[in-house]
């Protein structure tokens, strides 16, 4: 029988999973835009300005998606998880407030300037604004991830008898044990997501138009970034895993599909975990490698799921496979990047059409890995919402299952149409390419070309006066 908790979890997973695509996109693309802006200011090459205008437009499209889908989440915590809100309000409330304030301050103040264009404010200020927007997106992630990490590894608070957490040390709350690792891993994931999208869009330009300069320059930039980021992410992921082993051993055991505590454990490449019989079927294993990766020792001890009772274990199959999807995509991205480096070394990077097609299809890989990674960390925290303290089942609101199903259905319909809308306009902008921007011509929508609504910010322009 389906109950409110299940539907609420499904709804939260769906809405936050849909939302996280856009901050990831925005964080990655905002930093790329800031990089292009800096290159344009310091090298004066027109191709950077052309790319800057192009990517600013693509950034704004994804950013708007993030803004509107984010509003929902701030109310969902109360609507679906009111008991969680009541008990953790003293901890997560201020963290979310700082997130909103960061967004208010940096993004509101500077995004307007960044999008206004350098003609209005001068090149120096324009670059400054672009950098501040990029920093703003990262600082927003800082606060959200501090709150999320606190739910994984709570610290700095004591819990009263009525369940409410009271903060005694804010520093310990924000910089809780898993936060630095999760933050670094997530920001790097966002950069990779952005770099893959840049690479794919540039590949489309090369496939459509021969070798335009903007295409080769952006593709080259994206692949250089990936060459640094992809190995870095594997290193950060490993560090994050060690941290999880220390603070959330049960989650790690689920990731590994390990039931019994043992030394010299193998690495399980594939298996079908059986939660009721507490064992793996059809396991493919490499001896010793598990201990080596997880403990950095040949015979390190890894704790198993059987250390806790069955009701304290997460859904092993879900966590196990989500992790393998994430890690598999991570290595696929690394291979793709290395292939690009090899082609570059051979001087064939801008003419290898098969490789360009691969980049086009690799565009969403960052998103897939990111979602899989979040499933690992969130599903791996179950059955708790605040790890070790508050069970997810006890955190739900007293809302009926019918109402919850109805809202889930609404979200599914509206979000699906939003995604189609985004894809439609994204493809349109990408296929028109940056050249469309450098030769101004009236768009089909003549209003845009002839009726500017931003008259007044230009000091020299005549103000639109009151006619009355």
């Amino acid at each position: 029988m389906i109950d409110t908790v299940d539907v609420s979890r499904l709804q939260f997973a769906f809405t936050i999973g849909f939302h996280i695509l856009w901050p990831a996109y925005s964080i990655g693309i905002a930093s790329f835009v800031a990089l292009l802006n800096a290159l344009w200011v310091f090298t004066n090459r027109p191709v950077y300005q052309q790319l800057l205008l192009f990517w600013q437009r693509l950034f704004a499209l994804g950013f708007a998606m993030g803004v509107v889908t984010g509003v929902v989440l701030s109310y969902q915590i109360g609507g679906n998880w009111s008991e969680f809100a009541r008990e953790t309000g003293p901890v997560i409330g201020p963290l979310f407030t700082y997130e909103v304030l960061t967004a208010f301050f940096l993004e509101a103040g500077f995004l307007g300037i960044a999008l206004l264009g350098e003609r209005r404010v001068g090149r120096g200020w324009h670059l400054f604004a672009s950098v501040m927007v990029a920093l703003g997106t990262i600082f927003s992630a800082f606060w959200v991830l501090a709150a999320n990490s606190w739910m994984q590894t709570p610290a700095g608070a004591i819990r009263a008898s009525n369940g409410v957490f009271h903060v005694v040390d804010w520093w310990a709350v924000v910089f809780n044990p898993s936060f630095p690792f999760r933050f670094a891993h997530m920001v790097c994931a966002c950069f990779i997501t952005g770099a893959l999208i840049v690479a794919g869009v540039s590949a489309i330009q090369l496939l459509k138009r021969g070798t335009p300069q903007h295409g080769t320059v952006a593709l080259s930039l994206a692949l250089w970034l990936l060459l640094i980021l992809a190995p870095l992410q594997i290193f950060l992921g490993d560090a994050h895993g060690l941290n999880t082993r220390q603070h959330q051993p049960v989650k790690l055991a689920a990731i590994e599909g390990r039931w019994d505590t043992a030394r010299e454990v193998p690495l399980t490449l594939f298996a079908l975990p059986d939660q009721t019989q507490e064992r793996n079927r059809a396991a493919i294993e490499i001896p010793h490698l598990g201990s080596l990766i997880l403990t950095h020792q040949w015979d390190g001890e890894v704790r198993g799921l059987k250390e806790v009772t069955a009701d304290l274990r997460p859904n092993v199959t879900l966590v196990f496979f989500a992790f393998r999807i994430m890690a598999g995509i991570g290595f696929a991205i690394l291979l793709l990047t290395l292939a690009g480096a090899w082609l570059r070394w051979r001087g064939r990077l801008f003419h290898a059409r098969a490789y360009h097609w691969m980049l086009v299809f690799a565009m969403p890989l960052g998103w897939f890995a990111l979602l899989a990674g979040w499933i690992v960390t969130e599903a791996g925290r179950q059955p708790f919402v605040v790890y070790g303290y508050l069970r997810t089942a006890d955190a739900a609101a007293p809302v009926g299952v019918g109402a919850t199903l109805f809202s889930l259905l609404l979200f599914a319909v509206v979000y699906a149409s939003l995604f189609l809308g985004f894809a439609w306009y994204f493809v349109r902008m990408v296929t028109r390419g940056p050249e469309d921007l450098s030769t101004p011509k009236p768009l089909a929508n003549s209003r845009i070309a002839t009726v500017p609504k931003l008259i007044s910010p230009l000091p020299a322009s005549p103000r639109s006066g009151n006619t009355a």
């Binding site: 509107v68 309000g89 407030t97 206004l116 768009l443 008259i455």
Partner: protein, 359 residues
């Protein structure tokens, strides 16, 4: 507990109320413009209509997020009690706002689907306004201790107060929207604003009067608040002011100064808002938890308060600057200003409009 700590809940109550008010007034006029969209027939007018709210609407919506966060941070108990109680209208509103927000961005892109996205924008505006009114009605009616499931729409026949509030808010936003059009546009669209404002005013006024008469019957707390002789001696000012503002608003609709109708409409809203605040104070969850019952720990309020103290004044300054920058009428095709600044037209094709994007 220091002296400061006992004032903190009141400060956060003011912040919450202030952001809700800022949201209702500012998103009110762009929601209102969305509500009026289906009534506008000429295509040229619909363009001017969208242009009039372009730089503002998403910044306005930010106050909703800020208000929600102030409620969670200031009063977790109130946040956790109220939100499930208004679950369905709240979530339908949120979905409508999502639909509306993204439809706006998409219709900006032009293309074959533009008309469809514009209609989606209007639909989102109307449903969001109705839901906000419904939420207000449920909260003012008072939140009973939970017994079983909460948050569903109950039978219309059994509860008339929330739908009445929904109509009132729809009319109120349409009023703000039409006054906004009077201020920001010219020609046929402005005349449309003047004409439709009167209908919206009548709807708002009737709903406001009915709500005012009804609330004292809902709760003994509200009745006591208003009809204690000592209170009544002061509080009669509110309904009297509301009547006077409505009268002045009607008189200003066809007068010379285009900003006046919006001013009177805002003042009318303020009296309605003050009336609700007076009725329910000191309850933040009406008739169940007071501001002090539900307040967060002083340590949480202090920690969050520092950030609010720094950022909020800067933001308000920035936003008022933005409203100044974009003041005046929306330009239309054939305006002499446009011919004299051709490069702006060129610029508009090359970058996004400088909206006040926030999250």
């Amino acid at each position: 507990m220091t002296n400061m700590d006992s004032v903190l809940p009141l400060i956060f109550a003011a912040l919450t109320l202030g952001s809700v008010l800022a949201y209702v007034l500012m998103d009110g006029w762009d929601l209102g413009v969305g509500i009026l969209f289906p009534l506008v027939a000429r295509r040229a007018d619909t363009h001017a209509l969208f242009d009039s709210i372009a730089p503002f609407w998403d910044a306005n919506e930010t106050w909703l997020v800020f208000g929600g966060m102030m409620l969670l941070t200031g009063f977790p108990l109130a946040y956790a009690t109220l939100l499930p109680h208004v679950y369905l209208p709240l979530f339908i509103m949120l979905v409508s706002l999502v639909l509306r927000g993204v439809s706006y961005e998409f219709q900006e892109q032009g293309g074959a689907l533009q008309r469809l996205w514009q209609l989606a924008f209007a639909l989102g505006s109307i449903v969001a306004a109705l839901c906000q009114g419904w939420i207000l009605g449920v909260i003012v009616e008072g939140v009973e201790p939970p017994s079983g499931e909460v948050g569903t729409f109950e039978m219309l026949g059994r509860r008339l107060f929330p739908p009445l509030c929904a109509l009132g808010v729809l009319g109120g936003y349409a009023l703000l929207g039409s006054c906004w059009l009077i201020l920001k546009t010219r020609g046929a669209l402005q005349v449309f604003g003047r004409e439709v404002a009167l209908s919206a005013l009548i709807l708002t006024g009737v709903a406001l009067a009915a709500i005012s008469a009804w609330t004292p019957m809902i709760s003994p707390h509200v009745a006591r608040r208003w009809f204690t002789p000592a209170n009544l001696a002061v509080l009669w000012v509110l309904p009297a002011a509301a009547c006077w503002f409505a009268w002045r608003l009607k008189a200003s609709l066809w007068a010379d100064r285009d900003g006046r109708p919006l001013l009177w409409a805002v003042l009318l809203f303020l009296t309605g808002f003050a009336g609700i605040a007076v009725s329910t104070y000191p309850y933040i969850v009406p008739y169940r938890y007071t501001v002090f019952d539900a307040a967060n720990d002083a340590t949480a309020l202090r920690f969050a308060g520092v950030g609010v103290l720094i950022v909020l004044p800067i933001t308000i300054l920035y936003l008022s600057l933005a409203y100044r920058v974009f003041h005046g009428k929306v330009l239309e095709q054939g305006d002499p200003q446009i011919a004299s600044v051709p490069h702006i037209g060129a610029r508009r094709t090359s970058v996004q409009p400088a909206d006040l994007h926030m999250s």
